[in-house]
Symmetry: C2
Subunit: 304 residues, 2 copies
Amino acid sequence: MSIEVSILGCNSALPTSERHPSAQIVTLSGRTFLIDCGEGTQFMLRRMKVNFMRISHVFISHLHGDHVFGLLGLISTMSLLNRKARLEIFAHPKLEELMRPHLDFFCDRLTYEVVFRPLQTDGTHVIYSDKALSVESIALKHRLPTCGFVFRESRRRPNMRKDAIARYGLGISDIARILEGCEYKDSEGNTVDRSLLLTEAPEPASYAYCSDTQYMPDLAGRLRGVDTLYHEATFADDQAALAKATMHSTARQAATVARDAGVRRLLIGHYSSRYHDTDLLRDEARSVFADTIAVADGMRISIG
Amino acid sequence: MSIEVSILGCNSALPTSERHPSAQIVTLSGRTFLIDCGEGTQFMLRRMKVNFMRISHVFISHLHGDHVFGLLGLISTMSLLNRKARLEIFAHPKLEELMRPHLDFFCDRLTYEVVFRPLQTDGTHVIYSDKALSVESIALKHRLPTCGFVFRESRRRPNMRKDAIARYGLGISDIARILEGCEYKDSEGNTVDRSLLLTEAPEPASYAYCSDTQYMPDLAGRLRGVDTLYHEATFADDQAALAKATMHSTARQAATVARDAGVRRLLIGHYSSRYHDTDLLRDEARSVFADTIAVADGMRISIG
Protein backbone atom coordinates (compact mmCIF):
# COMPACT_ATOMS: atom_id res chain seq x y z
CA MET A 1 0.00 0.00 0.00
CA SER A 2 1.06 3.59 -0.45
CA ILE A 3 -0.28 7.09 -0.27
CA GLU A 4 -1.33 8.71 -3.51
CA VAL A 5 -1.62 12.48 -3.77
CA SER A 6 -3.64 14.02 -6.61
CA ILE A 7 -3.10 17.71 -7.28
CA LEU A 8 -6.44 19.36 -8.07
CA GLY A 9 -5.12 22.89 -7.76
CA CYS A 10 -1.74 24.40 -6.91
CA ASN A 11 -2.10 28.10 -7.44
CA SER A 12 -2.34 30.83 -4.85
CA ALA A 13 -5.24 33.23 -4.47
CA LEU A 14 -5.49 34.54 -8.03
CA PRO A 15 -6.30 31.57 -10.26
CA THR A 16 -4.88 31.45 -13.76
CA SER A 17 -6.37 29.75 -16.79
CA GLU A 18 -3.90 26.88 -16.18
CA ARG A 19 -3.96 26.49 -12.43
CA HIS A 20 -6.77 26.21 -9.93
CA PRO A 21 -6.49 27.32 -6.30
CA SER A 22 -5.51 24.86 -3.58
CA ALA A 23 -7.02 21.38 -3.38
CA GLN A 24 -5.53 17.90 -3.14
CA ILE A 25 -6.82 14.38 -2.79
CA VAL A 26 -4.95 11.96 -0.53
CA THR A 27 -5.83 8.28 -0.91
CA LEU A 28 -4.58 5.49 1.32
CA SER A 29 -5.90 1.96 1.87
CA GLY A 30 -9.16 2.70 0.05
CA ARG A 31 -9.76 5.91 2.00
CA THR A 32 -10.15 9.23 0.19
CA PHE A 33 -9.41 12.54 1.90
CA LEU A 34 -9.63 16.04 0.53
CA ILE A 35 -7.24 18.77 1.65
CA ASP A 36 -8.50 22.29 0.99
CA CYS A 37 -11.21 23.02 -1.51
CA GLY A 38 -10.65 26.06 -3.69
CA GLU A 39 -13.16 27.09 -6.33
CA GLY A 40 -13.31 24.55 -9.14
CA THR A 41 -12.36 21.55 -7.00
CA GLN A 42 -15.37 19.58 -8.22
CA PHE A 43 -14.41 20.14 -11.87
CA MET A 44 -10.87 18.96 -11.25
CA LEU A 45 -12.20 15.90 -9.39
CA ARG A 46 -14.19 15.02 -12.50
CA ARG A 47 -11.32 15.72 -14.85
CA MET A 48 -9.01 13.52 -12.77
CA LYS A 49 -11.74 10.87 -12.55
CA VAL A 50 -11.67 10.80 -8.75
CA ASN A 51 -14.78 9.17 -7.32
CA PHE A 52 -15.57 12.08 -5.09
CA MET A 53 -18.47 10.35 -3.41
CA ARG A 54 -15.76 8.38 -1.60
CA ILE A 55 -14.35 11.47 0.08
CA SER A 56 -15.06 10.91 3.76
CA HIS A 57 -13.11 13.74 5.38
CA VAL A 58 -12.12 17.23 4.31
CA PHE A 59 -9.23 19.06 5.95
CA ILE A 60 -9.27 22.84 5.55
CA SER A 61 -5.94 24.46 6.34
CA HIS A 62 -7.28 27.98 6.86
CA LEU A 63 -10.12 30.27 5.93
CA HIS A 64 -8.79 32.17 2.96
CA GLY A 65 -11.17 31.98 0.01
CA ASP A 66 -8.74 30.19 -2.29
CA HIS A 67 -8.83 27.23 0.11
CA VAL A 68 -12.61 27.02 0.70
CA PHE A 69 -14.66 28.61 -2.08
CA GLY A 70 -15.27 25.24 -3.77
CA LEU A 71 -16.75 23.58 -0.71
CA LEU A 72 -20.36 24.67 -1.07
CA GLY A 73 -20.53 23.55 -4.70
CA LEU A 74 -18.98 20.20 -3.86
CA ILE A 75 -21.35 19.58 -0.94
CA SER A 76 -24.30 20.56 -3.13
CA THR A 77 -23.23 18.28 -5.98
CA MET A 78 -22.77 15.33 -3.63
CA SER A 79 -26.34 15.86 -2.45
CA LEU A 80 -27.69 16.07 -6.00
CA LEU A 81 -25.95 12.73 -6.54
CA ASN A 82 -27.84 11.38 -3.53
CA ARG A 83 -24.90 10.82 -1.21
CA LYS A 84 -25.85 9.08 2.00
CA ALA A 85 -22.55 8.84 3.88
CA ARG A 86 -21.66 11.49 6.43
CA LEU A 87 -19.02 14.04 5.39
CA GLU A 88 -16.70 15.36 8.08
CA ILE A 89 -15.01 18.71 7.63
CA PHE A 90 -12.08 19.64 9.84
CA ALA A 91 -11.72 23.40 9.87
CA HIS A 92 -11.49 26.48 12.03
CA PRO A 93 -14.86 26.74 13.82
CA LYS A 94 -15.65 30.00 12.02
CA LEU A 95 -16.25 27.99 8.85
CA GLU A 96 -19.29 26.26 10.24
CA GLU A 97 -20.72 29.57 11.42
CA LEU A 98 -20.27 31.00 7.93
CA MET A 99 -21.45 27.98 5.99
CA ARG A 100 -24.51 26.85 7.93
CA PRO A 101 -26.83 29.59 6.59
CA HIS A 102 -25.65 28.80 3.06
CA LEU A 103 -26.12 25.07 3.53
CA ASP A 104 -29.58 25.69 4.98
CA PHE A 105 -30.57 27.86 2.02
CA PHE A 106 -28.79 26.36 -0.99
CA CYS A 107 -28.75 22.72 0.14
CA ASP A 108 -31.96 22.61 2.11
CA ARG A 109 -32.70 19.01 1.26
CA LEU A 110 -29.25 17.63 1.87
CA THR A 111 -29.29 13.86 1.45
CA TYR A 112 -26.47 13.31 3.96
CA GLU A 113 -25.03 14.76 7.12
CA VAL A 114 -22.26 17.36 7.07
CA VAL A 115 -20.34 17.46 10.35
CA PHE A 116 -17.85 20.19 11.14
CA ARG A 117 -14.97 19.28 13.42
CA PRO A 118 -13.24 22.29 14.97
CA LEU A 119 -9.49 22.42 14.46
CA GLN A 120 -7.14 23.59 17.16
CA THR A 121 -4.69 25.70 15.28
CA ASP A 122 -1.92 25.73 17.88
CA GLY A 123 0.56 22.91 18.44
CA THR A 124 0.25 19.42 17.03
CA HIS A 125 -2.82 17.23 17.49
CA VAL A 126 -3.91 13.83 16.21
CA ILE A 127 -7.27 14.73 14.69
CA TYR A 128 -8.11 11.46 12.95
CA SER A 129 -7.00 7.88 13.24
CA ASP A 130 -8.12 4.44 12.19
CA LYS A 131 -6.29 1.17 11.82
CA ALA A 132 -4.66 2.23 8.54
CA LEU A 133 -3.50 5.74 9.29
CA SER A 134 -3.50 8.82 11.47
CA VAL A 135 -3.78 12.49 10.59
CA GLU A 136 -2.13 15.21 12.66
CA SER A 137 -2.74 18.90 12.50
CA ILE A 138 0.37 20.99 12.84
CA ALA A 139 0.35 24.74 13.51
CA LEU A 140 1.66 26.95 10.73
CA LYS A 141 2.20 30.71 10.68
CA HIS A 142 0.08 32.71 8.30
CA ARG A 143 -2.08 35.81 8.38
CA LEU A 144 -4.86 33.91 10.15
CA PRO A 145 -4.93 30.63 12.12
CA THR A 146 -3.59 27.90 9.85
CA CYS A 147 -2.81 24.19 10.14
CA GLY A 148 -0.76 21.82 8.09
CA PHE A 149 -1.72 18.14 8.01
CA VAL A 150 0.50 15.09 8.36
CA PHE A 151 -0.84 11.76 7.09
CA ARG A 152 0.97 8.78 8.58
CA GLU A 153 0.27 5.26 7.45
CA SER A 154 0.16 2.83 10.39
CA ARG A 155 3.05 0.42 10.72
CA ARG A 156 1.82 -2.88 9.34
CA ARG A 157 2.69 -6.18 10.89
CA PRO A 158 5.23 -8.36 9.14
CA ASN A 159 4.14 -11.22 6.88
CA MET A 160 4.96 -14.89 7.59
CA ARG A 161 7.45 -16.35 5.15
CA LYS A 162 5.82 -19.25 3.30
CA ASP A 163 9.11 -21.16 3.21
CA ALA A 164 9.29 -20.93 7.01
CA ILE A 165 5.82 -22.43 7.42
CA ALA A 166 6.90 -25.45 5.38
CA ARG A 167 10.41 -25.73 6.84
CA TYR A 168 9.33 -25.66 10.49
CA GLY A 169 5.90 -27.26 10.02
CA LEU A 170 4.18 -24.27 11.64
CA GLY A 171 0.55 -24.53 12.75
CA ILE A 172 -1.97 -21.71 13.11
CA SER A 173 -1.19 -21.16 16.79
CA ASP A 174 2.57 -21.02 16.06
CA ILE A 175 1.97 -18.42 13.37
CA ALA A 176 -0.28 -16.33 15.61
CA ARG A 177 2.35 -16.31 18.36
CA ILE A 178 5.18 -15.43 15.98
CA LEU A 179 3.14 -12.58 14.50
CA GLU A 180 2.46 -11.33 18.03
CA GLY A 181 6.23 -11.11 18.52
CA CYS A 182 6.93 -14.29 20.50
CA GLU A 183 10.18 -16.18 20.04
CA TYR A 184 10.03 -19.44 18.10
CA LYS A 185 12.25 -22.41 18.82
CA ASP A 186 12.82 -25.17 16.33
CA SER A 187 12.52 -28.90 17.12
CA GLU A 188 16.05 -28.85 18.54
CA GLY A 189 15.23 -26.00 20.90
CA ASN A 190 17.20 -23.34 19.03
CA THR A 191 15.68 -19.88 18.73
CA VAL A 192 15.01 -19.13 15.07
CA ASP A 193 16.01 -15.69 13.89
CA ARG A 194 12.96 -13.53 13.12
CA SER A 195 14.22 -12.76 9.63
CA LEU A 196 13.94 -16.47 8.74
CA LEU A 197 10.29 -16.47 9.81
CA LEU A 198 8.98 -13.07 8.77
CA THR A 199 9.18 -10.51 5.97
CA GLU A 200 9.02 -7.05 7.49
CA ALA A 201 6.40 -4.71 6.00
CA PRO A 202 7.81 -1.69 4.18
CA GLU A 203 8.30 1.52 6.11
CA PRO A 204 4.93 3.23 6.55
CA ALA A 205 4.34 6.01 4.07
CA SER A 206 3.83 9.56 5.32
CA TYR A 207 2.88 12.84 3.75
CA ALA A 208 2.82 16.36 5.15
CA TYR A 209 0.86 19.26 3.64
CA CYS A 210 2.13 22.66 4.80
CA SER A 211 0.30 25.55 3.16
CA ASP A 212 -0.03 28.48 3.67
CA THR A 213 2.84 29.50 5.89
CA GLN A 214 5.75 31.84 6.27
CA TYR A 215 9.16 30.22 6.61
CA MET A 216 9.27 28.42 9.98
CA PRO A 217 12.77 27.18 10.84
CA ASP A 218 11.30 25.11 13.70
CA LEU A 219 8.85 23.31 11.41
CA ALA A 220 11.59 20.88 10.31
CA GLY A 221 11.83 19.37 13.78
CA ARG A 222 8.14 18.52 13.73
CA LEU A 223 8.36 16.86 10.32
CA ARG A 224 11.03 14.29 11.22
CA GLY A 225 10.35 10.93 9.63
CA VAL A 226 8.03 12.34 7.00
CA ASP A 227 8.59 10.82 3.57
CA THR A 228 7.13 13.48 1.29
CA LEU A 229 6.51 17.10 2.17
CA TYR A 230 4.29 19.51 0.24
CA HIS A 231 5.38 22.99 1.25
CA GLU A 232 4.02 26.18 -0.22
CA ALA A 233 6.43 28.12 -2.42
CA THR A 234 4.38 31.14 -3.40
CA PHE A 235 7.36 33.20 -4.48
CA ALA A 236 10.88 33.01 -5.90
CA ASP A 237 13.85 34.81 -4.35
CA ASP A 238 13.02 37.95 -6.31
CA GLN A 239 9.94 38.41 -4.13
CA ALA A 240 11.43 37.43 -0.76
CA ALA A 241 10.31 40.71 0.80
CA LEU A 242 6.76 40.21 -0.45
CA ALA A 243 6.83 36.64 0.86
CA LYS A 244 7.72 37.97 4.30
CA ALA A 245 5.13 40.76 4.19
CA THR A 246 2.32 38.39 3.15
CA MET A 247 3.47 35.54 5.43
CA HIS A 248 4.23 33.19 2.55
CA SER A 249 7.40 31.25 1.70
CA THR A 250 9.87 31.30 -1.14
CA ALA A 251 10.84 28.11 -2.96
CA ARG A 252 14.25 28.26 -1.32
CA GLN A 253 12.67 28.44 2.13
CA ALA A 254 10.44 25.47 1.35
CA ALA A 255 13.54 23.53 0.32
CA THR A 256 15.35 24.56 3.49
CA VAL A 257 12.56 23.09 5.60
CA ALA A 258 12.68 19.87 3.52
CA ARG A 259 16.45 19.60 3.91
CA ASP A 260 16.41 20.31 7.64
CA ALA A 261 13.54 17.87 8.23
CA GLY A 262 15.38 15.15 6.31
CA VAL A 263 12.38 14.23 4.16
CA ARG A 264 12.87 12.08 1.10
CA ARG A 265 11.09 14.33 -1.36
CA LEU A 266 9.68 17.84 -1.57
CA LEU A 267 6.65 18.96 -3.55
CA ILE A 268 6.22 22.69 -4.02
CA GLY A 269 3.09 24.55 -5.04
CA HIS A 270 0.72 27.42 -4.17
CA TYR A 271 2.45 29.51 -6.79
CA SER A 272 1.82 33.18 -7.25
CA SER A 273 0.04 33.75 -10.55
CA ARG A 274 2.96 35.91 -11.66
CA TYR A 275 4.94 32.70 -12.36
CA HIS A 276 3.49 31.37 -15.57
CA ASP A 277 6.36 28.89 -15.76
CA THR A 278 7.34 27.26 -12.46
CA ASP A 279 10.84 26.15 -13.55
CA LEU A 280 12.39 29.12 -11.75
CA LEU A 281 10.75 28.09 -8.47
CA ARG A 282 11.75 24.45 -8.96
CA ASP A 283 15.36 25.37 -9.74
CA GLU A 284 15.68 27.66 -6.74
CA ALA A 285 14.34 24.89 -4.52
CA ARG A 286 16.64 22.28 -6.08
CA SER A 287 19.67 24.43 -5.34
CA VAL A 288 18.96 23.62 -1.67
CA PHE A 289 17.13 20.28 -1.89
CA ALA A 290 17.65 18.20 -5.02
CA ASP A 291 14.61 15.93 -4.89
CA THR A 292 12.04 18.63 -5.49
CA ILE A 293 9.00 18.39 -7.75
CA ALA A 294 7.11 21.52 -8.80
CA VAL A 295 3.57 20.15 -8.93
CA ALA A 296 0.97 21.00 -11.57
CA ASP A 297 -2.79 20.59 -11.70
CA GLY A 298 -3.67 17.04 -12.69
CA MET A 299 -0.44 15.50 -11.35
CA ARG A 300 -0.50 12.27 -9.32
CA ILE A 301 2.32 11.39 -6.92
CA SER A 302 2.81 8.01 -5.24
CA ILE A 303 4.43 7.94 -1.81
CA GLY A 304 5.88 4.80 -0.26
CA MET B 1 -22.85 48.12 -32.90
CA SER B 2 -24.23 44.79 -31.82
CA ILE B 3 -24.68 42.65 -28.76
CA GLU B 4 -22.16 39.89 -28.18
CA VAL B 5 -22.99 36.98 -25.90
CA SER B 6 -20.16 34.82 -24.51
CA ILE B 7 -21.14 31.47 -23.04
CA LEU B 8 -19.09 30.81 -19.88
CA GLY B 9 -21.23 27.90 -18.74
CA CYS B 10 -24.32 26.19 -20.11
CA ASN B 11 -24.88 23.17 -17.91
CA SER B 12 -27.52 22.67 -15.26
CA ALA B 13 -26.85 21.98 -11.60
CA LEU B 14 -24.47 19.03 -11.93
CA PRO B 15 -21.41 20.27 -13.79
CA THR B 16 -19.60 17.91 -16.13
CA SER B 17 -15.94 17.94 -17.06
CA GLU B 18 -16.94 19.68 -20.31
CA ARG B 19 -19.58 22.13 -19.19
CA HIS B 20 -19.69 24.67 -16.38
CA PRO B 21 -22.89 25.80 -14.70
CA SER B 22 -24.72 28.93 -15.88
CA ALA B 23 -22.88 32.15 -16.67
CA GLN B 24 -22.84 34.46 -19.68
CA ILE B 25 -21.24 37.74 -20.61
CA VAL B 26 -23.25 40.27 -22.60
CA THR B 27 -21.31 43.13 -24.18
CA LEU B 28 -22.83 46.12 -25.92
CA SER B 29 -21.34 49.52 -26.76
CA GLY B 30 -18.30 48.94 -24.57
CA ARG B 31 -20.39 47.81 -21.60
CA THR B 32 -19.87 44.39 -20.05
CA PHE B 33 -22.61 42.62 -18.12
CA LEU B 34 -22.56 39.24 -16.41
CA ILE B 35 -25.67 37.08 -16.25
CA ASP B 36 -25.55 34.43 -13.55
CA CYS B 37 -22.31 33.30 -11.97
CA GLY B 38 -21.99 29.56 -11.40
CA GLU B 39 -18.86 28.06 -9.88
CA GLY B 40 -15.88 28.43 -12.19
CA THR B 41 -17.08 31.63 -13.86
CA GLN B 42 -13.78 33.38 -13.17
CA PHE B 43 -11.82 30.56 -14.85
CA MET B 44 -13.99 30.71 -17.94
CA LEU B 45 -13.63 34.50 -18.05
CA ARG B 46 -9.88 34.01 -18.14
CA ARG B 47 -10.05 31.24 -20.72
CA MET B 48 -12.26 33.37 -22.95
CA LYS B 49 -9.98 36.37 -22.36
CA VAL B 50 -12.82 38.57 -21.13
CA ASN B 51 -11.54 41.60 -19.25
CA PHE B 52 -13.65 40.91 -16.22
CA MET B 53 -12.64 44.10 -14.46
CA ARG B 54 -14.95 45.77 -16.98
CA ILE B 55 -18.02 43.94 -15.68
CA SER B 56 -20.16 46.69 -14.18
CA HIS B 57 -23.40 44.86 -13.46
CA VAL B 58 -24.28 41.29 -12.57
CA PHE B 59 -27.78 39.92 -13.11
CA ILE B 60 -28.65 36.85 -11.05
CA SER B 61 -31.72 35.02 -12.32
CA HIS B 62 -32.42 33.07 -9.14
CA LEU B 63 -30.77 31.69 -6.04
CA HIS B 64 -29.94 28.14 -6.98
CA GLY B 65 -26.29 27.35 -6.35
CA ASP B 66 -25.44 26.63 -9.98
CA HIS B 67 -26.25 30.27 -10.76
CA VAL B 68 -24.39 31.97 -7.88
CA PHE B 69 -21.60 29.81 -6.41
CA GLY B 70 -18.94 31.59 -8.47
CA LEU B 71 -19.82 35.07 -7.24
CA LEU B 72 -17.76 35.17 -4.07
CA GLY B 73 -14.62 34.00 -5.86
CA LEU B 74 -15.09 36.54 -8.63
CA ILE B 75 -15.68 39.41 -6.20
CA SER B 76 -12.60 38.34 -4.21
CA THR B 77 -10.40 38.12 -7.30
CA MET B 78 -11.50 41.55 -8.49
CA SER B 79 -10.44 42.94 -5.13
CA LEU B 80 -7.07 41.19 -5.25
CA LEU B 81 -6.63 42.86 -8.65
CA ASN B 82 -7.33 46.20 -6.96
CA ARG B 83 -10.60 47.02 -8.66
CA LYS B 84 -11.90 50.47 -7.82
CA ALA B 85 -15.15 50.68 -9.76
CA ARG B 86 -18.41 49.84 -8.03
CA LEU B 87 -20.01 46.50 -8.88
CA GLU B 88 -23.79 46.29 -8.93
CA ILE B 89 -25.51 42.97 -8.43
CA PHE B 90 -29.18 42.61 -9.31
CA ALA B 91 -30.59 39.66 -7.41
CA HIS B 92 -33.30 38.49 -5.09
CA PRO B 93 -32.73 40.37 -1.80
CA LYS B 94 -31.95 37.13 0.02
CA LEU B 95 -28.61 37.02 -1.78
CA GLU B 96 -27.29 40.10 -0.01
CA GLU B 97 -28.37 38.70 3.35
CA LEU B 98 -26.48 35.48 2.60
CA MET B 99 -23.40 37.04 1.08
CA ARG B 100 -22.68 39.97 3.39
CA PRO B 101 -21.18 37.84 6.21
CA HIS B 102 -19.00 36.05 3.65
CA LEU B 103 -17.90 39.31 2.03
CA ASP B 104 -17.12 40.76 5.46
CA PHE B 105 -15.03 37.73 6.41
CA PHE B 106 -13.37 36.59 3.18
CA CYS B 107 -13.09 39.99 1.47
CA ASP B 108 -12.63 42.20 4.50
CA ARG B 109 -10.43 44.68 2.68
CA LEU B 110 -12.49 44.97 -0.47
CA THR B 111 -10.97 47.62 -2.74
CA TYR B 112 -14.31 48.58 -4.27
CA GLU B 113 -17.97 48.84 -3.41
CA VAL B 114 -20.39 45.96 -3.99
CA VAL B 115 -23.98 47.15 -4.23
CA PHE B 116 -26.90 44.75 -4.24
CA ARG B 117 -30.02 45.83 -6.12
CA PRO B 118 -33.13 43.89 -5.14
CA LEU B 119 -35.00 42.32 -8.03
CA GLN B 120 -38.77 42.23 -8.17
CA THR B 121 -39.49 38.79 -9.43
CA ASP B 122 -43.07 39.39 -10.56
CA GLY B 123 -44.06 41.07 -13.81
CA THR B 124 -41.73 43.01 -16.08
CA HIS B 125 -39.56 45.89 -14.89
CA VAL B 126 -36.90 48.08 -16.47
CA ILE B 127 -34.06 47.59 -14.00
CA TYR B 128 -31.27 49.34 -15.85
CA SER B 129 -31.00 51.87 -18.62
CA ASP B 130 -28.48 54.24 -20.09
CA LYS B 131 -28.27 55.93 -23.47
CA ALA B 132 -27.12 52.76 -25.22
CA LEU B 133 -29.47 50.13 -23.81
CA SER B 134 -32.06 49.05 -21.30
CA VAL B 135 -32.39 45.85 -19.30
CA GLU B 136 -35.75 44.46 -18.25
CA SER B 137 -36.43 41.74 -15.73
CA ILE B 138 -39.18 39.37 -16.73
CA ALA B 139 -40.84 36.93 -14.35
CA LEU B 140 -40.24 33.25 -15.03
CA LYS B 141 -41.71 30.20 -13.30
CA HIS B 142 -39.32 28.00 -11.41
CA ARG B 143 -39.08 26.36 -7.99
CA LEU B 144 -38.15 29.69 -6.40
CA PRO B 145 -38.55 33.32 -7.53
CA THR B 146 -36.79 33.69 -10.89
CA CYS B 147 -36.29 36.41 -13.49
CA GLY B 148 -35.24 36.41 -17.08
CA PHE B 149 -33.46 39.45 -18.49
CA VAL B 150 -34.06 41.27 -21.76
CA PHE B 151 -31.30 43.48 -23.12
CA ARG B 152 -32.53 46.04 -25.66
CA GLU B 153 -30.17 48.27 -27.53
CA SER B 154 -31.54 51.84 -27.82
CA ARG B 155 -32.73 52.95 -31.22
CA ARG B 156 -29.99 55.06 -32.66
CA ARG B 157 -30.68 58.18 -34.63
CA PRO B 158 -30.26 58.07 -38.40
CA ASN B 159 -27.09 59.35 -40.07
CA MET B 160 -27.04 62.26 -42.54
CA ARG B 161 -26.31 61.20 -46.08
CA LYS B 162 -23.11 62.90 -47.25
CA ASP B 163 -24.45 63.23 -50.77
CA ALA B 164 -27.47 65.11 -49.41
CA ILE B 165 -25.24 67.64 -47.59
CA ALA B 166 -23.50 68.42 -50.87
CA ARG B 167 -26.59 68.29 -53.08
CA TYR B 168 -28.68 70.65 -50.94
CA GLY B 169 -25.80 72.72 -49.50
CA LEU B 170 -26.87 71.91 -45.92
CA GLY B 171 -25.44 73.92 -43.04
CA ILE B 172 -25.01 72.78 -39.44
CA SER B 173 -28.36 74.18 -38.35
CA ASP B 174 -30.13 72.46 -41.27
CA ILE B 175 -28.52 69.15 -40.31
CA ALA B 176 -29.46 69.54 -36.65
CA ARG B 177 -33.10 70.23 -37.56
CA ILE B 178 -33.27 67.31 -39.99
CA LEU B 179 -31.77 64.95 -37.38
CA GLU B 180 -34.37 66.19 -34.88
CA GLY B 181 -37.03 65.09 -37.34
CA CYS B 182 -38.03 68.40 -38.99
CA GLU B 183 -39.09 68.52 -42.61
CA TYR B 184 -36.61 69.96 -45.08
CA LYS B 185 -37.62 71.91 -48.16
CA ASP B 186 -35.29 72.41 -51.08
CA SER B 187 -34.60 75.79 -52.69
CA GLU B 188 -37.79 75.43 -54.74
CA GLY B 189 -39.89 74.83 -51.66
CA ASN B 190 -40.47 71.12 -52.25
CA THR B 191 -40.33 68.82 -49.24
CA VAL B 192 -37.41 66.42 -49.66
CA ASP B 193 -38.14 62.82 -48.84
CA ARG B 194 -36.36 61.72 -45.63
CA SER B 195 -34.77 58.78 -47.37
CA LEU B 196 -32.84 61.16 -49.62
CA LEU B 197 -31.44 62.96 -46.57
CA LEU B 198 -30.86 60.24 -44.01
CA THR B 199 -29.65 56.67 -43.67
CA GLU B 200 -31.68 54.92 -41.01
CA ALA B 201 -29.70 53.13 -38.29
CA PRO B 202 -30.09 49.37 -38.27
CA GLU B 203 -32.79 47.83 -36.10
CA PRO B 204 -31.62 47.83 -32.45
CA ALA B 205 -30.30 44.49 -31.31
CA SER B 206 -32.03 42.68 -28.47
CA TYR B 207 -31.34 39.58 -26.42
CA ALA B 208 -33.46 37.73 -23.89
CA TYR B 209 -32.09 35.29 -21.29
CA CYS B 210 -34.77 32.97 -19.90
CA SER B 211 -33.38 30.43 -17.45
CA ASP B 212 -34.47 28.60 -15.35
CA THR B 213 -38.14 28.18 -16.13
CA GLN B 214 -40.88 25.71 -16.81
CA TYR B 215 -42.63 26.05 -20.17
CA MET B 216 -44.63 29.30 -20.10
CA PRO B 217 -46.95 29.65 -23.10
CA ASP B 218 -47.56 33.30 -22.20
CA LEU B 219 -43.84 34.14 -22.21
CA ALA B 220 -43.87 34.47 -26.00
CA GLY B 221 -46.13 37.54 -25.84
CA ARG B 222 -43.64 39.31 -23.59
CA LEU B 223 -40.72 38.57 -25.90
CA ARG B 224 -42.15 40.18 -29.04
CA GLY B 225 -39.53 42.04 -31.04
CA VAL B 226 -36.63 40.19 -29.41
CA ASP B 227 -33.95 39.22 -31.90
CA THR B 228 -32.22 36.35 -30.09
CA LEU B 229 -33.65 34.30 -27.24
CA TYR B 230 -31.66 32.08 -24.88
CA HIS B 231 -34.15 29.67 -23.35
CA GLU B 232 -33.26 26.84 -21.03
CA ALA B 233 -33.66 23.35 -22.47
CA THR B 234 -32.66 21.15 -19.57
CA PHE B 235 -34.27 18.03 -20.99
CA ALA B 236 -35.23 16.26 -24.20
CA ASP B 237 -38.71 14.85 -24.86
CA ASP B 238 -37.76 11.61 -23.13
CA GLN B 239 -37.71 13.48 -19.82
CA ALA B 240 -40.79 15.68 -20.31
CA ALA B 241 -42.30 14.43 -17.05
CA LEU B 242 -39.12 15.21 -15.14
CA ALA B 243 -39.02 18.66 -16.77
CA LYS B 244 -42.51 19.33 -15.47
CA ALA B 245 -41.77 17.98 -12.01
CA THR B 246 -38.61 20.05 -11.62
CA MET B 247 -40.07 23.15 -13.31
CA HIS B 248 -37.65 23.05 -16.21
CA SER B 249 -38.28 23.03 -19.98
CA THR B 250 -37.65 20.60 -22.78
CA ALA B 251 -35.85 21.66 -25.95
CA ARG B 252 -39.13 21.42 -27.83
CA GLN B 253 -40.82 23.74 -25.35
CA ALA B 254 -37.98 26.26 -25.66
CA ALA B 255 -38.44 26.17 -29.43
CA THR B 256 -42.20 26.61 -29.08
CA VAL B 257 -41.63 29.82 -27.11
CA ALA B 258 -39.17 31.02 -29.76
CA ARG B 259 -41.60 30.27 -32.57
CA ASP B 260 -44.57 31.88 -30.85
CA ALA B 261 -42.54 34.96 -29.90
CA GLY B 262 -41.36 35.36 -33.50
CA VAL B 263 -37.70 35.77 -32.54
CA ARG B 264 -35.04 35.50 -35.20
CA ARG B 265 -32.86 32.95 -33.45
CA LEU B 266 -32.98 30.61 -30.47
CA LEU B 267 -30.07 29.59 -28.27
CA ILE B 268 -30.64 26.62 -26.00
CA GLY B 269 -28.61 25.62 -22.95
CA HIS B 270 -28.77 24.69 -19.25
CA TYR B 271 -28.48 21.06 -20.25
CA SER B 272 -28.94 18.21 -17.85
CA SER B 273 -25.61 16.45 -17.36
CA ARG B 274 -27.21 13.25 -18.69
CA TYR B 275 -26.83 14.66 -22.22
CA HIS B 276 -23.18 14.31 -23.05
CA ASP B 277 -23.94 15.17 -26.64
CA THR B 278 -26.46 17.99 -27.16
CA ASP B 279 -27.37 17.11 -30.76
CA LEU B 280 -30.55 15.41 -29.58
CA LEU B 281 -31.70 18.56 -27.81
CA ARG B 282 -30.79 20.72 -30.81
CA ASP B 283 -32.63 18.45 -33.24
CA GLU B 284 -35.76 18.32 -31.12
CA ALA B 285 -35.77 22.12 -30.93
CA ARG B 286 -35.15 22.48 -34.68
CA SER B 287 -38.15 20.31 -35.44
CA VAL B 288 -40.20 23.26 -34.11
CA PHE B 289 -37.91 26.23 -34.73
CA ALA B 290 -35.23 25.85 -37.39
CA ASP B 291 -32.83 28.61 -36.40
CA THR B 292 -31.70 27.02 -33.13
CA ILE B 293 -28.14 26.87 -31.81
CA ALA B 294 -27.24 24.51 -28.98
CA VAL B 295 -24.62 26.58 -27.18
CA ALA B 296 -21.39 25.24 -25.68
CA ASP B 297 -18.93 26.66 -23.15
CA GLY B 298 -16.58 29.07 -24.88
CA MET B 299 -19.00 29.98 -27.69
CA ARG B 300 -19.46 33.61 -28.78
CA ILE B 301 -22.62 34.76 -30.55
CA SER B 302 -23.10 38.13 -32.26
CA ILE B 303 -26.58 39.63 -32.31
CA GLY B 304 -27.61 42.44 -34.68
